[in-house]
Symmetry: C2
Subunit: 319 residues, 2 copies
């Protein structure tokens, strides 16, 4: 796709993945509107520049959304409540911010006559996958978390609207993403705990959870590759890394990089929290067939994440 | 399960399937509260009697729900917006009435300390199934309708809450149901058209859509069998008939029963409406393994439905 002069709306553009996407689109000549409530995004991630307009607002406010979408040619819908572990404490918020907000985006697109939308879903929609690596057409999973439920509901809204109202949609099911501007997940949790007390580290579960991680630059490149090369009305694509690592391996990388040797204790059980899938590895043959492959190892991604956290103390202070 | 003296809340208890369930539970000695907004249900279906309390109210009104659920031991959540064909005209209503309403029921259960919930989902969650008969763990489908999206979202809420808050849930994915008190679907549509003009019949699609149908008495028996015999935290069960018929076969049964010989015209295409799945046949080995089997043929179900419509003109007048 030639993005030159295209007007792109990025919801959640002030967030971790969204802001990298904004940079990449800007480099390819797009004009960009970011809408973000900055509840988890950072103004620092999207400094104002010529081709970029930033609207501070919430997707649950339809008026704000309607004004942000005017003139858009393409929507990337990345805004979400991604606080998987905390969702059981505020179950309605997850549905509002991920399901209702997605329907608001789709309704705004219908009103404004915008036809193309890419969406950040999640590999968590496979629940406790019975097939590893997990392909897009894995056996129909039982949803184990409100977060994954809200993502699968949003996916269904996108595909139903695509068929019913002639939209085109790209749905990306991510593994966890790492790299600069990362703000939540196990790397920041461990890093923060070890800075506070380098002598000990408490780990949720038994440390044997094994998951795949993708670098944010690879993630954004994959999305843009898919949009360039797949023009179907509905594209559903896993985005992940062929490799995966145990929590214990991740801890070894983090402690070595930080130069600490903590005593490690485990809360026990085979998962980190209720609804956690202890093993995540996605089959990425579909996106690879479009000509994309990851360029960074998981270890490189972890180390870059730590470097970013060390160099940008405001992230720790404000998350 | 011994239902004697149990207090059961049935949402949508004034509807087609709900009212049959109420009758069956009452016969087994349960005390029942029905909550129904009677937008598609009928007061005639749930005449007041000793063991039955009827609350006219909407699940989007949490106060009404909270008062209805007091003292309940078990919830059957059958209330839904089931108007599949019309959902694209009012896309928000489907999400409100099927997703938000389901979350309201779950939150009311949490407040009231109720732990068991059975739910009427739908075989439409399989989209255009690539495997027929379709098992519960069929390849992960792309959702093709807002209705099915809302059902899969509701299923995910149920399973997430079950894991997160120690509930137990039975999820039933129905084929289309027929029999007494039926109020919408192709049988009433054709019957109504043929009463108005017995010389012609317009059919949506090409008449070759082929689907399975279940008698409402068999459907209710299956639900109660599953609750008796499956005590897992999460049970997901297809409910359907081993047989299926083409729309054209159904038309032959209906026209013969009505004694009419219309000229049949087709709107064309291989499906009735956007999002329609032209072939629906569910694999029901899971529920059959629990000791249930359908007792009525599809033809018997159609004929009973027609008899009911002929004998109860108020249904036609008020739908």
């Amino acid at each position: 796709m030639d993005w030159t002069g295209k007007h792109v709306l990025v919801t959640g553009g002030g967030g971790f993945i969204g802001s990298h996407l904004v940079d990449r689109l800007a480099a390819r000549g797009a004009r960009i509107t970011v809408i973000d409530n900055f509840s988890t995004g950072f103004r620092e991630y999207v400094p104002e520049r010529g081709a970029l307009r930033v609207v501070e607002g919430d997707l649950l406010d339809p008026h704000c959304l309607q004004s942000a979408i005017q003139g858009a040619d393409f929507v990337f819908h990345l805004a979400a409540n991604a606080d998987i572990k905390e969702n059981l404490k505020t179950p309605r918020r997850c549905v509002e911010q991920n399901v209702i907000a997605t329907q608001n985006v789709l309704e705004a697109m219908r009103s404004a006559g915008v036809h193309d939308i890419a969406f950040a879903s999640s590999g968590s929609v496979y629940g406790e996958a019975s097939v590893l690596p997990t392909p897009e057409d894995a056996p129909f999973p039982v949803q184990t978390s409100l977060y994954a439920t809200s993502k699968i509901a949003a996916e269904g809204l996108l595909t139903s609207y695509a068929l019913g109202f002639n939209l085109r949609t790209w749905i990306f099911r991510f593994v966890s993403v790492l790299g600069p501007r990362y703000t939540h997940g196990h790397v920041i949790d461990f890093w923060r705990k070890l800075k506070a007390d380098p002598t000990r580290l408490e780990v949720l579960g038994n440390g044997k959870q094994k998951k795949s991680y993708l670098h944010v630059a690879d993630c954004v490149a994959a999305m843009l590759t898919a949009i360039d090369r797949s023009r179907d009305a509905i594209s559903v694509l896993n985005l992940g890394h062929g490799d995966w690592i145990e929590v214990n391996q991740s801890i070894a990388i983090i402690t070595r990089a930080m130069g600490v040797s903590p005593r490690i204790s485990y809360t026990g059980g085979d998962r980190g929290w209720v609804g956690d899938a202890p093993r995540i590895l996605l089959d990425t043959r579909r996106i690879q067939a479009l000509g994309w492959a990851p360029t960074k190892t998981i270890e490189e991604s972890i180390l870059e994440t730590l470097r970013f956290l060390n160099e940008n103390p405001y992230v720790e202070q404000r998350t």
